[in-house]
Each structure stands twice: as C-alpha cells, then as structure tokens.
Assembly symmetry: C4
Amino acid sequence: RTAHTLDDLARLAAGQLPADVWDFVQGGSGEDGTVLANRAALDSIRLRPRVLAEVAEATGYCRLLNAESALPLAVAPMAYQKMMHPRGEVDMALAAYEAGVPIALSTLSSRTIEDVCGTGAVVWFQLYWLRDRDAILGLVRRAERAGCRAVMVTVDVPVMGRRLRDIRNRFAVPEEISAINLPPVMRGGGTAAKPGTSAVAAHTGAVFDPGMGWSDLDWLREVTDLPLIVKGIMDPEDADRAVSAGADAIVVSNHGGRQLEGALPSILALADVVDAVSDRCEILFDSGVRSGTDILRALALGASGVLVGRPMLWGLAVDGARGAARALEILRVELEFALALAGCPNVLAARRLDATVVPG
Amino acid sequence: RTAHTLDDLARLAAGQLPADVWDFVQGGSGEDGTVLANRAALDSIRLRPRVLAEVAEATGYCRLLNAESALPLAVAPMAYQKMMHPRGEVDMALAAYEAGVPIALSTLSSRTIEDVCGTGAVVWFQLYWLRDRDAILGLVRRAERAGCRAVMVTVDVPVMGRRLRDIRNRFAVPEEISAINLPPVMRGGGTAAKPGTSAVAAHTGAVFDPGMGWSDLDWLREVTDLPLIVKGIMDPEDADRAVSAGADAIVVSNHGGRQLEGALPSILALADVVDAVSDRCEILFDSGVRSGTDILRALALGASGVLVGRPMLWGLAVDGARGAARALEILRVELEFALALAGCPNVLAARRLDATVVPG
Amino acid sequence: RTAHTLDDLARLAAGQLPADVWDFVQGGSGEDGTVLANRAALDSIRLRPRVLAEVAEATGYCRLLNAESALPLAVAPMAYQKMMHPRGEVDMALAAYEAGVPIALSTLSSRTIEDVCGTGAVVWFQLYWLRDRDAILGLVRRAERAGCRAVMVTVDVPVMGRRLRDIRNRFAVPEEISAINLPPVMRGGGTAAKPGTSAVAAHTGAVFDPGMGWSDLDWLREVTDLPLIVKGIMDPEDADRAVSAGADAIVVSNHGGRQLEGALPSILALADVVDAVSDRCEILFDSGVRSGTDILRALALGASGVLVGRPMLWGLAVDGARGAARALEILRVELEFALALAGCPNVLAARRLDATVVPG
Amino acid sequence: RTAHTLDDLARLAAGQLPADVWDFVQGGSGEDGTVLANRAALDSIRLRPRVLAEVAEATGYCRLLNAESALPLAVAPMAYQKMMHPRGEVDMALAAYEAGVPIALSTLSSRTIEDVCGTGAVVWFQLYWLRDRDAILGLVRRAERAGCRAVMVTVDVPVMGRRLRDIRNRFAVPEEISAINLPPVMRGGGTAAKPGTSAVAAHTGAVFDPGMGWSDLDWLREVTDLPLIVKGIMDPEDADRAVSAGADAIVVSNHGGRQLEGALPSILALADVVDAVSDRCEILFDSGVRSGTDILRALALGASGVLVGRPMLWGLAVDGARGAARALEILRVELEFALALAGCPNVLAARRLDATVVPG
Ligand SMILES: Cc1cc2nc3c(=O)[nH]c(=O)nc-3n(C[C@H](O)[C@H](O)[C@H](O)COP(=O)(O)O)c2cc1C
Ligand SMILES: Cc1cc2nc3c(=O)[nH]c(=O)nc-3n(C[C@H](O)[C@H](O)[C@H](O)COP(=O)(O)O)c2cc1C
Ligand SMILES: Cc1cc2nc3c(=O)[nH]c(=O)nc-3n(C[C@H](O)[C@H](O)[C@H](O)COP(=O)(O)O)c2cc1C
Ligand SMILES: Cc1cc2nc3c(=O)[nH]c(=O)nc-3n(C[C@H](O)[C@H](O)[C@H](O)COP(=O)(O)O)c2cc1C
C-alpha cells in the first residue's frame, strides 16, 4: 500500500492509531471549524502559472533562518511523538536529517533534547512559556548546549484550546509517555482527566503561564543569542512588534486550528503580515499544509517557508523514521512538480507568483 | 450524559420535549431560511487573534446597561417557559442570578413578574406593544414596582412571523399555561388553532398592536424612568432614531430568524448600526449565538454584549434551573477560552479585535 | 392536504400531472442551471427590516400599469394551460379576477381570448412575434376588441430555449390542445416530436420569427394604442431602447430559466435596469418568485411588481380556479406578512428597503 | 441511445473504455481539484442576453487564425487517440473536416501526420518541446510538407503534471500504440510503469525538455513561416511576451486541469490576457468547455474561439468519426441556440456580451 499523497498516509495512520490518539492529532478546538476553514481557504488560493521559465533544475533548495535547507519547510513542533511510534521525536529527526530540513522540537517532546540533536538534524527548540522562569532558562541553556540552532517561542497557547474531541474522550497521554525534558514535577505523565477537560489540557494549564506578555519576549531575547522564531502570529501589528522585539522569524499560524475556535484561516492572514514586516525578518507559515501546491501557495503569498504538522505524525505513526521520510519525500516531489509547472526555477521565483482567492 | 456544548444541550432537549414544542422553539419564519442564514453568517465571521496580551485573568466581567454583569450577555426574553419546565421563568431567573447575568422577562411570561424578580436576578422587563395602552402602562408600573431594572420594548413584532412549523402543527400552548401577567381577557391560554395559523399567532394578532410607531416610543420614554432598551433594530437609520428617542440600549436582532423571512442575518447588520450609533447608547446583539466564540464575534463587531435565546430554553428543558445554569456555564467557559486565545484580557479589548467575513 | 406555501402546491401538482407535462412546466433550458441560479440568487438577497412603521394596514394594494391591483403581481403568460386543467386559462383568469390582479394571456393560450376576457379579469395579451405579420395584427386587433388592457410583447424567444427535459421526453402537447387563437395552419396541435427536439420547439420554430428587431417594436407601437409591455429584458441598454421605443413597462426576466442557458439570474439584472430606466416606465420582474418575500425582494430592488409563473400552474393543476386562487391567496398572505415585518405599510415604502446580496 | 449533450457522450464513453484509459482521459493533476475548479468557474460566468437583435441567421461561422471556420472552435491536441478508437486521429480529423473546423494534432499522435492531413481537414501541428532540437525541426518540416496550417507549441508541459489516477493505475499506453511521428527511439510505446509514476509520465520525462525558455520560442519563430500558436498561457506578462516573440495566437489554458494542481481556472485568466494583448493576436481558450454556452462565455470574455478536448475523445470512443462528429454537431446546435438567445447574430457580437461572475 504505497502512499502517493499525504492523505494516503492519513488513511494508513488512522487505521493504526488508537481512536483517542487519532482524535488528539486530528482534532481542533470546538467542532474543528477552524481546521476545516484552514483547508477551505488554502484550496481557494489559485495560482497563475508562468511558462518558458527554464525549469529543468526546479528545486526547493533554499535558505531558512540563515541556513541551507533542501526544502522550504521544517517539521512543526509537536508534543509527545512517542504516542505515534516508540522512538518518537528521534525518528522524526532522523527523517528530517535525511531530507535535509530542520525540525522544531516541542517543549513537550517525549524524547530528550540531546537524543534528538544527536541525530544530526538541524533542530529548533520550541519553547512554551512556563510559569517557572528558571525552568524556561534551564531549557534554553540545555537547548543551546545540545546544539539547537534556534529558539522558537510559541505565543498562541496562553491556555490550550478547548478541543472537544479530547474533552469527550477524557484524553490522557499514556502513562509511560511524558514531557521528559521538563523538571520531573512538571512532566504530568499519566495525569488522569476529569470530566469537562482532558489530561493534556489540565497539564498545560498547570505549567504554562497565561500571563506571558511582550516584556517576556524582551527577556527571552536578552538571555540567548540563538536566532529567535516567534510562532503563532496572525496580526500585522503583533508581527511588527515581534520584529521590533528582535524576532529573526515569525510563523503565521493558527496552530493548525487547535487554539482559537473561529480564527481566521492562517493563509488569509499571511499577506498582511508579509506587508507589515516587509523583509525585516523571515516569515514562515503553517496550518493546513498538505501538499507541494500548498507550499507553493504560501510562498506565492510571501512566506519563505512552511511548517508541516500532522502529516509528519501520520508518517511517523505508519512507519517510524521511514514513514516520516516518506511524508517529506512526497512533499519534495510535489513541490518540484509545482515549481516546474508554475514556471518557478526556485523558491525565490515562487515568491513572485500571482495568487488569487477564488471562493469555492 | 454531560453536555460540553450548547448543541449537546439541544440534542438532549430535543429528546425530551414534545415535537410540536420543540418546533415552536427551534422554528423560524417560512422554512427557517433566516435561522440558517444567521448561523452561516456567524460562522463566516473569522477573528484575528492577538498574542502576548497577558491574559491570565481573562474575564467576561463587564458593565451592561450601567450595571455589573459576570458576562457580556443576558438571557433573551422568551415566551411561555413553563412549556420547557414546570417552574418556567423562575428557574431561568435562578440560573441567571447564580451566573450573575441579567434576564429579560417576556410580556408573555408564564410566571408572574413578582415571582421572577423574587429570585434576586437582575430582570429587564420585555414589553410587547399591546392594543390596550392602559394594559401597557399597567405592565410597566408593575415591572417598576417589582424591581425590574429596565424596560426592553420589542419593536420587530408588529405581527408574529409566519412560522410554518407552528402552522403545520396547528400549535397551541398547553391549556394550563398562559401569559399570566396580562389582564385575564388577553391571556389567550388554551386558544385552539384554526387551519392556516397557530394559536400562538392568533393570540398575538388579537392583543399586539401592529400600528405601533415612533410616537409610541416617545410616549413610553415619557411614562417611565427605567432605562429603555429597544429590541429588534436592524437598520442604522432606525438605530439613530431610537437613540434620539431616548433609548439607553439597542438590540440588533432579527428575532432569531422568527420574524421577517429573508431578513439580513443580524450579525451582518451589527457593524452598520454600531457606526450609526457611535457610542451614544449601548448595543446588544442576538440571533444565533451558540458559543463563546459567537459572543466574541459580536464584541469584535462592536456589541457590548449579547442576548442568548434558544440555548437557554434547551438548558431549562433538560434540567430546570440547573440545566439553564449549565448553558450559562458553558458559555462562560467558552468565552474565557475565546478571550484568552484571542489575546483579550477583557471585553473592552475584544471590541478592538479584527473580524473578517470569509464566505464559506 | 392544505397547501401553506407555493412549494406545497408544487408537491401536490407533481403528484397529479403526467411526468412529461410536469417536466415541461418545471424544466429550464439545458440541465436547468439557470432555473437553479434564479432561485439561489433570490435567496441571496437579504432584506433589512424597518421598525415602528405603523403597519396595521400593510397592504399590497397598488397601481400596476395605470390600473389598480390588489397585489403588485400579475399572472405570467403561460402556454397551453389546458394541460393543467380542462378549463385552462379561463379558470386561471377567474382566479386572477377574484384576487384582483391582472393576468397575461399567452399567444399560445389554449382558450380563446374572448372566453378569457369574459371572466372579467384584467387581461394583458402576450404577443409572440409570428413570422406572419398579418397574423400578429389580427391578434392585436382581436385582443383590443376583446378588451385586453395591454399588449405584452415577449422579446426573449427568437427561438425556444433548448430544454433537455422536453427533448428527452420528445414532448408534444396532447392532440386535443392547441394554440387556439392562432390561424388554424399555425396551431400545431398534435405535432409529433422528432428525435433531438420537442414538438413544442418544432412548432415554435415554425411560427415564431427569429428575425424580430427593434424596428418591429416600432411598428407594433404604431399599430396599437394599448399600453405596451416589453417582456424579457435583461440589459440596461436594451431597457433604455425599449423605453425610447415607447414601452409603458418592461419585464426584467430570463423567462424562468427556460431560454438562454447560463443567463444571469434575473434578480441580479434588476437593479441595473431600474437605474437605466429611472422611472421613465414601469418595471416588472419575474423568474423564480415563490413567496411573498420574493415579491418584497423585487420591490426593494426597484420593481413595481412581479409576474408569477409556474406556481400559478401548480395551483391550476391541483384544483382549477380554486387552486390558482389558493396560490394567489398564499402570496397575498405572505406579502402582507413580509410588508408588515419589514416595516412597509405599502408597496411604495417597500421600494425604499435596503437589500444586500449575501452569497450563500 | 441518442446523446443530446456532451455529458451524454461522456456517460456512453465511460461505459465503453477500459477504466484506466477512462481515468487517463478524465483525470487531472492531484485529486482533480483544478478540473473541478475549471468547471465551477465556467458555471459561475453568467451572461446577460440582448434582445431584438435579428438573429434569424445566428451563426458560429467565423475566421480562426486567418481562415474560415464553421464554428469558433478547434479540436484540442490530444495524445494517443488510438486508445479511443482503432482509427484514432484520422477519424477525429474526418469529423473536424466534415464539421468545417480545424483540428490540432498532437506531437504524441498515434497516427501519422500525413494520414491525418490526408483527410482534408485544416490541421494545426501541436509541438511539444523535445530534448532533441533536430527532432523538433524534423517534425516542423514534416508538418509543413504535409500541409499543416499552423504550429501550435505547448508551453505548459515542462514536465507532465502529477496525475494521481495514472500513478495509482500505473498507467501505460497499450503496447501497440505509440507516438508514431517521433523518431523510433523516442516513441516509448509499451513502456511499463514503475511505482510512483505512470509510463506516460516516464516517457514524457525522457523526451520533453523542461529547460525550454523564451529563446527557444524565438528560434522556433525563425525556423518556420507557419502561423505560430502558443498554447498554455495564463499570465498577462507571458502573453505580452509571446506576442512580442511573434505569436499569431495564444491559447489561454491550464491544460484541462492536468498540469499545475491549484492553478487558476483558465476562464478566470482569460479577461486579463485579453486586456494585455489588446488585439495584437488571436486568443483562444480551453479547459472545461462542455457546451455551446461555454463557448459563448469564452467569446464574451474576449476569446475568438475555443479548443475542445475531452468531449471529442468521448465522441471518438463512442463511435469513431461519427461519434466525434456528433460531439461537434451538439456544440454547433448549442452554440446557435446560445447565440440566438443571447441576441448575437454572430461571433463578433458575442464578444460584446456582458459577463458577470456569480459565485455559488
Ligand atoms: C498533535 C499536535 C501537537 C502539537 N504540539 C505542539 C507543540 O508542542 N508546540 C507547538 O508550538 N505547536 C504544536 N502543535 C502545532 C503545530 O506546531 C503546528 O502549528 C500545526 O500542527 C500546523 O498545522 P498542521 O498540523 O495542519 O500542519 C501541535 C500540533 C499537533 C497536531
Ligand atoms: C421560543 C421563543 C420565544 C420567544 N419569545 C420572545 C418574546 O416573548 N419576546 C421577545 O422580545 N423575543 C422573543 N423571542 C426572541 C428572543 O428574545 C431572541 O431575540 C432570539 O431567540 C435570539 O435568537 P437565538 O434564539 O438564536 O439566540 C423568542 C424566541 C424564542 C426562540
Ligand atoms: C410552462 C410555461 C409556459 C410559458 N409560456 C410562456 C408564453 O407563452 N409566453 C411568455 O411570454 N412566457 C411564457 N413563459 C414564461 C413566463 O411568462 C415567465 O416569464 C416565467 O415562467 C417566470 O418564471 P417562474 O415560472 O419561475 O415564475 C412560460 C413559462 C412556463 C413555465
Ligand atoms: C487525454 C488528453 C491528452 C492530451 N494531450 C495533449 C497533447 O498531446 N498536447 C497538448 O498540447 N495538450 C494535450 N492535452 C490538453 C488539451 O489539448 C486541452 O488543453 C485540454 O484537454 C482542454 O481541456 P478540456 O479537456 O476540459 O476541454 C490533452 C488532454 C487530454 C484530456
């Protein structure tokens, strides 16, 4: 059963994962309205191909965050990947390493930072804002020492979104899996869920600091020299402010539809942020990328690259590092087709493509 | 069977109420086209979240009509609540009281004004324009004496909408339930329905005055010192005129899709009315609110709060005061999530959010 | 089985008519795409109700073509009504007479002009442009003598639309029914259909003149003093030219979706025509009117009235004059509701309502 | 089983062709998203008919590429027509000849150029850019000698689109069929497909030159005096450049949705290209034309004619030359209806029609 598309991988993964884990992966906040809206909006972006562009060598090879990348994409940070596969984030990193793309490693990783960096992959450490400032500092230092190439601070999770699938399932991460990089008291492994919430949400509520503000970003900028990526920006003013605060990159994202129910599809937020930032920092995009054409859509609207979330988990679930590699391989092939067929020899050319919203 | 959303409550209520009562509650005018359009329009309003806004204490606490309210919402006035539960409006008021939000009490209440005010809730008395001017005055005086905090005059029911479900069911309110606050001759309890109409419509036609005009509003403004809320305004010119006539608040509403078939979804009327009024009075919104995100949508478009209709009846039907309280509790939780995730520490901040129509 | 809406009548008629006759009535050109588009466009027109407008006497009473009419509507001209009911156009006219509205009588009427005028109804004679100029003149003179109050010349049938249902059914009008008012050689009763066409289309092709031009309209204007209605205009320039040619009224219409496949929904053509004409003549609207709200939509967009087509046939099929009367009665009730609920005491007020397109 | 529409022909062909051949014909790139978008966009173009236009002789007769044509259409170039019918392109050309319209003959034709030209049809030779420049020159000279009237160079296939149906089917052209006009080593007949690709794509990849650029077009313009048609342009700048390079005609096309997944529907690209070119060369349109109304849509948006693709294959599959002729006959009849009903005596008039996008 060869997977030719990421959706093929989704079908395979759905057949393999426990139902509540599948729901945890797929679900969004509320009744998944924003997940669906993300997809509908991406489909509505129609590209105007160029021709006679000498695309024999069309390639996604590019620079991302001042480093070379085989593709304009990074693996999105995602918690608890051991739920997908026993080797979890390490296998995910192996796949990224093989494919030559960066991987963002979640604060809620179920494998140690060191093990993941040991794969040789370009690792960006994703930081959730913990109530305990020392714990944050500890993570940053550890990431620096382990060789992470950037800190990606996620700013759209003051609290975890209200995800009905998890609430209905009273979802809890299996006991043997936990946020291994956090100090033991904060790991929350095996927390049982109470009615009306999930254990994951309860854990998040206990350790994340909903009071995070712009001054915290200033503090973070001070304490580390690593490049700083701010993930979860949708508003041009916030983007502008993040740049002023020293961000090297911004991720335009609505967290894959998992946070604010009713949020604007993030692809519809991209162009305004690009305008506001006007090249002062890099702009990445995520939420709903499912094909090489989607990557091209984001590039055409001004992103320098994308993060890919759930599809990477599908691949990991299906076949560990090989499955995750398959996901990246599909995206590489599709992107090369899309670039060539749109008349773009490279990523730079793609950023000059014309994109039009054609409602559905 | 815990209800996690208002729609969960709807399902529970649907399983419990007689079919014709359910139809009376759910139905709109014609084939429910405006009910559906209200919902589609709300879903099309997409919000652009802000970040790093220090939302640890995100709260819906606010002022509504110059009084404190735990949430930017009031229970909408709805007739004959004893059809939902034997204790009817009294239980509804108890839930509102517990939750710290106002309740609007219908002219067609099936419990006495005094009993309802006795719960301690903040009660706004909703007035339908009766053919008998003395009866109106009597109701207003009685509301004043009972301690109601405002008069809410509903202006979008010169006649009752042509509700096909009720007509097809020849719907009549059960004999033992009636508009207890009206003079006995006007109560219309137990009226039987003739073909082509419902008993409810027949009763309304007999006692409501379709001739109501602006001068009647002036008269009402004269006869009472209570704050005046004008409910059912969709047009900016009418809004302007209502303000000039002394309205303290306006409710932008199409009566939950129950009056003019083919009416503009009321959420699409909100922004124009807000512009026309420009802070000269408060603006509430109703028709289709089903979640905390919907409340946030209305706030972002300039409302200072919303009325919630049918969902409160679902709660009441399911479990009396406790069920109604559950509805309010769900809304409180959802609104707090929505505020925090949109980067709004409070209701005021929410009114500066960016909202975009993304057709669906 | 009481019909509460025109769609109820449709269901009843569908159960009664032979399938091919039903198809002839319901069908449009091609695969009915324009029929559906007409309906979708009407549904997308959302009205903004006004309030406190003293609507106790809200009424559709108005002037149409310089005569009084109980409602801002006329029965559309429709061919061969004996297929619906043995008494055909005479019963239709009786219903119109009772309801106090005009009826347009088709060139292809299956009852004589004289019989129809004998009902006392206000009759407008609908003229198709025949290849034989003398035959046209003969019809006009006969209409004048019989007391018709206007000539309505239909300009959107140079050829009959390509109606696939009829073609697939090889539809032919039953032998005993024919265009009784035409000279015998032109009646075409009982013509059999050849593959790839219908007998109705073949007949039309034989007797209608596709070469009709503006000079023919001038000629018609010369030969009769009756008010002239030009039916089937969609373009503002054509409207302007029709006014210059002496039209007293224009019908904005795409012939109920039966002529040009892919035509603009006629409701979306209305406003431009109204602008171009700016009160120089009356503007009627048809194609898809199915409720009082639809009439209000057309009025709000500037029409002075509408023609109602298929629903009148449904009524006639169900119960002759009484069924047709029922259709008109439903429309009267619905329109009065719509007027009152939109805050329009009369038709004139309706023409100042705000209407917005909200795509679906 | 008479076919009255092209879709009737599709149904007949689907019942006759092997499933994988059907998929090869129908499929687009990816999951056919662009195929569907092409159709939805065409349906959304609504035409405003004109009246009283003296359309007795309404005709599609026109000039295409400086020659007379019975209809404003040509048969699109399509590979390997022997898969449809043993006589393949020769029968297709016979049908075109009978109908008096040009046919474009694919580089991947399965019948010889000479045999096809022998039918007497007006043949345009479609050129794919081969890696071997001599082979190109050889084809052009052969086309000139055989009497082709134009060279149509297809510029939107630097690589073949990623067509999932073919990939899933591991589609290969049957062994006995090949690109007979290519030098034997390039014919690729009977190539077997490897996983993840189709044999057709593999063959294309081997012989087509993805490096084609604007200078190659200059070279082509130099080496032949035949009129030059550039097929597959979607961008106004590219159109402008093609005109400057000496193109006599441009085909606005997204290759029937078979190339860039996510491409703009080509009908939505047409108007901009027409503007950019402003009569400096002819503009043809393709991708999704399925009826006479679709042709009228393209004309109204400024095209001078269309190419028709898949429907011609359906006809050929159903009944060889007769089936293909039936497809053209249906289009002729439909176009004449459309012209007459839109008030256009001829193709020129059609180009002045008003066309509006009505989503939905
Ligand atoms: C199961 C799952 C876990 C996630 N965990 C994190 C996380 O720990 N940190 C974070 O910043 N984002 C997290 N995200 C969000 C992703 O980084 C990314 O923004 C989102 O998945 C992109 O949308 P997509 O899944 O549609 O590609 C998670 C997403 C999923 C699906
Ligand atoms: C069963 C029912 C009874 C109602 N009765 C009244 C009423 O007596 N007075 C009034 O002003 N509005 C009445 N309304 C309208 C509500 O106050 C409110 O405008 C509407 O329900 C809001 O829409 P929602 O139900 O979608 O929240 C009623 C609505 C319902 C559903
Ligand atoms: C069965 C049928 C016959 C018709 N015959 C005529 C006719 O003879 N003359 C004419 O001008 N219009 C004719 N029409 C068009 C109507 O006058 C009118 O324009 C159209 O039906 C309006 O659309 P509606 O049916 O959706 O209301 C006919 C329509 C139908 C459905
Ligand atoms: C089976 C098939 C084979 C095709 N082969 C060619 C080809 O050899 N050369 C070319 O320029 N276009 C080719 N095309 C594209 C057509 O010329 C044309 O652009 C497209 O089919 C138009 O869309 P339609 O099929 O919706 O009418 C092919 C299309 C199909 C469906």
